[in-house]
Symmetry: C2
């Protein structure tokens, strides 16, 4: 049995995918019992030099050449952006072609539309490559952990920001220097905005939340903070308290709601995720049966991402060869057939690292502590520096950092307390609030 497939978008991941499909044709046939034939590839400009050159007869000059080819059963969508791949997906579904995509923005923002239309037409959508590159996390959630209620899923889903935070934490570099180095090494794109501001990680956690909790969510309501404003001072102060800073993407469910958020987060330094350094990704899944599991690997790059693309292509080609469609899937994206209600930011409960910038006089701590107590915020640790360490950014000589680590508190109360402290002129600069993921018994 031979299944014809086509790639649309021939960039780094496209080249890697073609390379695996062509060079591993035999091994894939042995393992999956089906021959996958890369019949056509479409890209806007064939005049470039490609990492993996194609045969002339594989080059399509228009999208229609692929869409109208009845033999092509799977379209591997590897373009960027949202609008073009969205239109392509709808057309492919209309034509009865299955889709494999690495496009997290597309699925996070237009997933509901695409998955519902695919359901209608009995079309499969493979999206292993859209989250955490080569790590087979979708398969794990969809099949391996099928007997679990997912209590929580959280992880490091963006390699660029993890590289930057690792070099800030380990080498004491400031954000700008670390970002420049990441660009030089190819770990950050020329325009790294969507990585740095947390959107990329948010796209991925939105997909994981949809799959884990069985419904669609309104991406525009996901709470997202990036790492642009992270000050080295906070990384170094928290290190003294035993914490490491990561850009965490978190999804958990409670009271019929799903909490989805992306923000810089302090983790205890002995936490498995705290040990994930550089460009690596890792996802921690807490299931009610399995307990804690973690999946670690490369979240980006040509061949790691192509590895995930190919796993979906094989899976779908296999089902085509058996004459079945979506009915073969364990855990469809919409298994609860509902829209997920997202928890509002003010309803978050977590631990907090709060750095006030206060005058170096006695009595301040007791005033701050009194306001925290008023808002029912319990203090777990305090770190007050006698003298500002010189290498930190300029703080007026008369001001010092006062760090308070709280027990689990309400976001709403925390924000009110900080506002009251600032309104009372107890601080001399903007207060820094960073959430802490460190569960208490």
């Amino acid at each position: 049995m031979k299944v014809d497939v086509a790639i649309v978008g021939y960039g780094v991941v496209g080249n890697g995918t073609a390379k695996i499909l062509e060079e591993k044709k035999e091994i894939l046939k042995k393992r999956a019992g089906v021959e996958i034939n890369l019949k056509k590839v479409f890209t806007r400009n064939w005049n470039k030099k490609f990492e993996f050159p194609l045969k002339e007869n594989q080059k399509a000059n228009s999208l229609d050449e692929i869409l109208n080819d009845k033999d092509i059963k799977i379209i591997i969508e590897l373009t960027g952006g949202i609008d073009f791949p969205y239109e392509l997906a709808l057309k492919a579904i209309e034509k009865g072609k299955h889709i494999v995509t690495a496009n997290k923005a597309l699925l996070a923002e237009k997933g509901k539309d695409i998955f519902l239309k695919a359901e209608e037409k009995n079309i499969r959508i493979g999206y292993e490559a859209a989250v955490a590159g080569g790590i087979p996390i979708i398969r794990a959630l969809r099949e391996g952990l099928v007997g679990n209620k997912i209590n929580k899923i959280y992880g490091i889903l963006n390699g660029t920001t993890n590289y930057i935070l690792t070099s800030m934490f380990k080498e004491g570099k400031d954000f700008k220097t670390a970002l420049e180095e990441a660009k030089e090494l190819g770990y950050a794109e020329a325009d790294p905005t969507l990585d740095i501001n947390g959107t990329d990680a948010a796209h991925k956690i939105a997909i994981l939340a949809s799959l884990s909790y069985g419904g669609f969510l309104d991406f525009s309501k996901v709470h997202i903070e990036g790492i642009e404003d992270i000050n080295l001072m906070d990384i170094e102060l928290a290190k003294e308290l035993g914490y490491t800073l990561k850009l965490l993407a978190i999804a958990k469910s409670h009271n019929g709601e799903v909490e989805v958020r992306v923000h810089p987060t302090f983790l205890p330094s002995d936490h498995q995720l705290a040990k994930v350094d550089g460009v690596f990704n890792a996802v921690m899944v807490e299931g009610d049966s399995v307990g804690e599991t973690m999946f670690y690997g490369r979240g980006a790059g040509s061949l790691p991402t192509a590895s995930a693309v190919v796993s979906d292509v094989v899976d779908i080609a296999k089902s085509i060869s058996l004459g079945v469609g979506r009915e073969i899937e364990i855990t469809s994206m919409n298994w609860e057939h509902k829209d997920l209600n997202l928890t509002k930011v003010s309803d978050f409960y977590t631990r907090y690292y709060v750095r006030f910038t206060v005058p170096d006089i006695t009595g301040i701590l007791s005033k701050v502590a009194a306001i925290f107590a008023k808002y029912d915020i319990s203090i777990a640790a305090v770190l007050q520096k006698e003298k500002v360490i010189e290498k930190y950014e300029k703080i007026s000589e008369k001001l010092v950092p006062l760090v308070i680590l709280t027990h689990t508190a309400s976001e709403n109360n925390l924000q009110k307390a900080v506002k009251e402290i600032e309104d009372n002129n107890l601080t001399g600069a903007k207060t820094v609030i960073i959430r802490v993921e460190d569960e208490e018994d």
Copy 2:
């Protein structure tokens, strides 16, 4: 569509499996689109108290009640040992019943027979629970990494020994004390022989090697060393050199052979696996496309193991509901249709930690180094202690430990060099040799 299943063997994992199948019936139906009905359970003695009590009509009084029940399509085999489950498996296959098992000894030692017979009768064997408990590593290798040539797969596959080694490394306990504590905490069985001597980890890596390299192997030829003779001194000396001791199970392929071995191994302390502590398991998989990936979680316990059992039950029930058998499987255990050739111990190439016990006189190091050079063994680091630290076990006052860390060398040459050094009366006690997993460029 309803699929009837039965459990044989009602111990901790059996109870956990029944609990998930009964309590999660609805969620499994929603996710997988198939109803799984736990029709019968067989155990030798129904007069005990069980963690998860069954309905009276679920209790089978004989195995035949299950084997002869035409409605039962899947037998979940959760007994111990090898002979009984082997016979059961053959009978189940004969009766056309699919099998899900957590029995690693059975598959590692009798797998060839079972898988070949299952192939003949179009029967599926689910064995996710046989390796690394709740971690979905079989699915990852079978499907998620299907586009990869697996260069190497290695990991911590036994929680008991990892607990012991962690408490030796972190708390400076000796082997016996750590073992006793593990027993008290329920992390070691009353008779922990198969864990301690490496057999359990070897069963698991043999299964992973078979799947990764597509054939069967002669388990009796797998190289196995346990942790019974590990001396705290070596853990502490290697710590000074930046290494952590783990019981590693390793499989890799080269020159048409597969190297499978289990032994205490030093890892660089910043290696991801070195950070896996206590009873946790973790498997590192190096694929040629995906690069380095790691899978981490609980390797044992009632619900974590049951989580894996249930994932196989759902998968197979799903294929039954679609009317298909083994043809649905991506990557069968025997996809290369061959027997694997195992590399002989003398052909291993790796790095070594060698601790000689030598007289505290000048000139010894140069003699030892000369013999290493003669056998083409390059020295990476030397640690010679002036004085024996008191807490180490008694070494005659005139003898001191001399540790040599080698670059990659031939096992054959290493053994010859050590023998020549001992034959030349340069040492005063048995030399300790521990392999080091630390790849060099």
